[in-house]
Subunit: 484 residues, 2 copies
């Protein structure tokens, strides 16, 4: 249920908005295959009645869609979905939200920012916090490796020593797997993407947390999934809502983080984990447990994959958050027959894997210094968490919970501010923020914002934030007084 | 039109084969969405008549499909496609051919082979032929790069200096593009995969050459495309057949190599290139020109993208074939508005790109030694081509043409031998061959085989090949005399 992009609000919505709403309705039906190429569109009169708009609004919308090539007009007959559908565009499939609360807005702003820019809204640590020295040493070691390591393709599953090492690391979280149950990928995201290809069909329903990592929305839209969500609580998904949604919507798949939830920093409790798995069994639900923040934990939290034994839970991870985001390497752990099919799919869609980056990751992880690096990173993050939490509270920005670990603080803004307004204001000063609704399918996080504490330490960030909070507040005040 | 996996041949086909054929027919209809979840299957009697098999064969097939969870039996009502479709499996969607002529067979055999094994059937040079020294130097240089280069995410389009360098290289082939029209990917395959996601819907028709690179089949099946093919001639696709297929099947997309065609080694002629583009315009066809063998050319051949100006042609490339397959890096060149949408899609499905491998590729390409490396590589390949061609002729294996450049020789085997039999025999001696039908949608290349000359120089390969040719010949002789 993709939330309708533009909400109608009676008299205040202008004609332009209504035309856009009609266009979006049709685009979504086409994207969701409710209207297939060649299909006749509803008559102008019928759609006008259904959507409670004037016939001229529908005519206007249809004519613009003809202009875009999405539909065709056959005079005397009606309107039809274009046969050669315009190239699929994610931003078309996604709700045409204001760019400030579009999932791509934040990805692209963060990735396009200059290396030195401040990005409290991004999902990674500053490069200087990562295993830079380890990477340097690994590069030097690799420069002396044999020629096949430097120039040959990797094996279908990927580096066997790295897969063995991954199983050892998973065992520390209680997840038993053998190396043949691990397939390396180019990234955690690629792992989820391959799994979506393997597990779901266009139109299938997929369940996510609300809020959840915004790229899950984008990824699932690329797969044309129907997305539903359940509210997230400090100990996991709201289990009543979870049970209800399974019964009601019969999702095929649930994608979640367990150890450190993105964006809330919450931790799944054992009792909720157990209930999730019982319900998953009852409703034949497959679960992808995205564990890319595993290395940040101080004490291991429950993993769904540990309870389930990799039966209906698939465990994925990567090394981008603690080691290096420049050397892309992720993995999937699943039952052997699924790994077999996923390997074919990986070969078909990206051929081999990145042998060199897998070797590099292996080098860094095997290096005795990596554990030390992670330990000092965790201390540094804890300090930043305490520090930033206090400073944000001073601005009236209140954390929803104090996370046990990780880099994220999920905060409520003061005075019913709209986080999108604040983000827009901050961007003028080249500070990239992450407004709450980017993470929320139900768009119920208007007053929330995710802060990456490692990127919020600079005084300038706090200054801009302060300004960005004061400005919309002042504006809101003006508008309110103007209206009143 | 996926070729039927198992051919019925009257009395010789056993009952098991007939049951498998019926199962495969149903699986393909489900995979191709001809039968959607919940749909009722044809009655046992009707399907038996249609497929010219007994009703008990259909009953048997339906029961096994129920066992697999693909369909459900509703007693008193009939059989239905399962609502929760079993996880999508490529090997299910692909024809269940004998493993020896399954596209995955060759990919996986080649990738799983030990580094020292001989793989005349694989699509890459021995690692020792690649830019090993350049990679070593680049790794040492990178170990001194700044921290962001070593640990940060890449920009959405990927390294700007590398994109600039790619446009300069493309200009040498007459293709004009600016760096904003280039998006880096993890590999050439990933580039095509993103394009398929962007350009086609499940069920859309895509045109390929016959023969063509076998992974195009696997990739397109992963996208649930309907695949059609046109015969390839020494100067490009058979243009009559091409025109006919466009008119008849209205494919949305054509995927081809121009400079050095895989597997035939043929070169597109300017006149055919021009005709292709005229027809593409007439039938609104988009073309992906896969140019990953560009660096092997002695004299540049025509590129479709050069004539077309990146309007309806998309140009892709990578560095796996001449530089290193361990450092994955490919690119797409297309019109700006497509690059914009592709970038969103790349972020959604794999987040950033491999910054480190892009920097490594840039280092190697900028290194003055790379041109020298490529020049000596071309000389080495020319020699191997002459040498292997002569040796194969001695065994009665005759090249279809003498390629101008590259590593492939597309050859006809002697005495109507089935290349799959020869490949199977050679595999017992751990030599991986590439039988012709792996490349042929129409399965019309039974008597052909692709040889990678760089991997066919070892005397042991020729010995095994000789044996592998003699053995099936002897067997064929025995069978013939037994039958006669």
């Amino acid at each position: 249920m993709v939330t309708m992009a533009i909400r109608m609000s009676g008299e205040t919505a202008g004609r332009t908005t209504r035309v856009a709403m009609v266009m979006e309705t049709i685009r979504q039906r086409i994207a969701g295959r409710g209207l297939t190429p060649g299909a006749k569109l509803p008559s102008v009169r019928r759609l006008a009645t259904t959507l409670n708009v004037s016939t001229s609004t529908v005519v206007d919308a249809y004519e613009r869609l003809v202009g875009e090539g999405a539909i065709l007009s056959r005079p005397g007959s009606g309107f039809y979905v274009a046969n050669q559908a315009a190239p699929f565009s994610l931003s078309q499939a996604a709700p045409k939200l204001d760019r400030a609360i579009d999932p791509f807005w934040i990805s692209r702003q963060s990735l396009e920012a200059d290396d030195g820019d401040h990005k409290p809204g991004c999902g990674w640590l500053p490069a200087s916090w990562l295993a830079e020295d380890g990477v340097r040493r690994a590069l030097r070691t690799l420069s002396r490796a044999d020629g096949v390591a430097l120039a040959g393709y990797g094996s279908p599953l990927g580096s066997s020593p790295l897969r063995t090492l991954i199983t050892r690391r998973m065992a520390e979280h209680g997840i038993e797997a053998n190396p043949d149950q691990i397939m390396l990928t180019e990234s955690g995201t690629q792992a989820i993407d391959l799994l979506c290809r393997f597990l779901i069909e266009p139109g299938d329903t997929v369940l996510v947390d609300d809020p959840c990592y915004f790229n899950f929305h984008a990824l699932l839209r690329a797969h044309r999934a129907r997305i539903v969500s359940v509210p997230y609580t400090p100990s996991g998904p709201d289990i009543e809502a979870f049970a209800h949604t399974l019964a009601e919507n019969r999702p095929r798949l649930y994608i979640t983080n367990s150890a450190i939830h993105n964006p809330t920093g919450a931790t799944l409790s054992p009792v909720i984990a157990h209930k999730i798995l019982k319900l998953a069994e009852q409703f034949d639900l497959t679960i992808i447990e995205d564990d890319i923040f595993a290395d940040f934990e101080h004490a291991p939290a429950p993993r769904l994959a540990a309870f389930d034994g990799l039966d209906r839970v698939i465990h994925i991870g990567s090394f981008s958050k603690t080691l290096s985001a420049a050397a892309r390497c992720g993995f999937v752990a699943a039952k052997p027959e699924w790994i077999e099919a996923l390997t074919d799919l990986k070969i078909a869609t990206s051929f081999g894997g990145g042998r060199l980056t897998a070797d590099l990751v292996l080098q860094v992880l095997s290096d005795g210094n990596y554990r030390k690096h992670v330990e000092s990173l965790k201390v540094r993050l804890s300090r930043a968490m305490t520090d930033v939490s206090a400073r944000l509270r001073n601005l009236g920005i209140v954390p929803w919970l104090e996370p046990r670990a990780g880099m994220f603080l999920w905060c409520r803004l003061p005075d019913d501010l709209d986080a999108a307004d604040v983000a827009r204001a901050a961007l003028e000063s080249r500070i990239v923020l992450a407004p709450g609704n980017v993470f929320s399918l139900s768009q119920s996080a208007t007053g929330f914002m995710r802060f990456n504490v490692s990127q919020t330490l600079d005084p300038r960030v706090l200054d801009v934030l302060k300004d960005a909070i004061l400005r919309p507040k002042a504006k809101a005040g003006t508008q309110a007084s103007g209206a009143g």
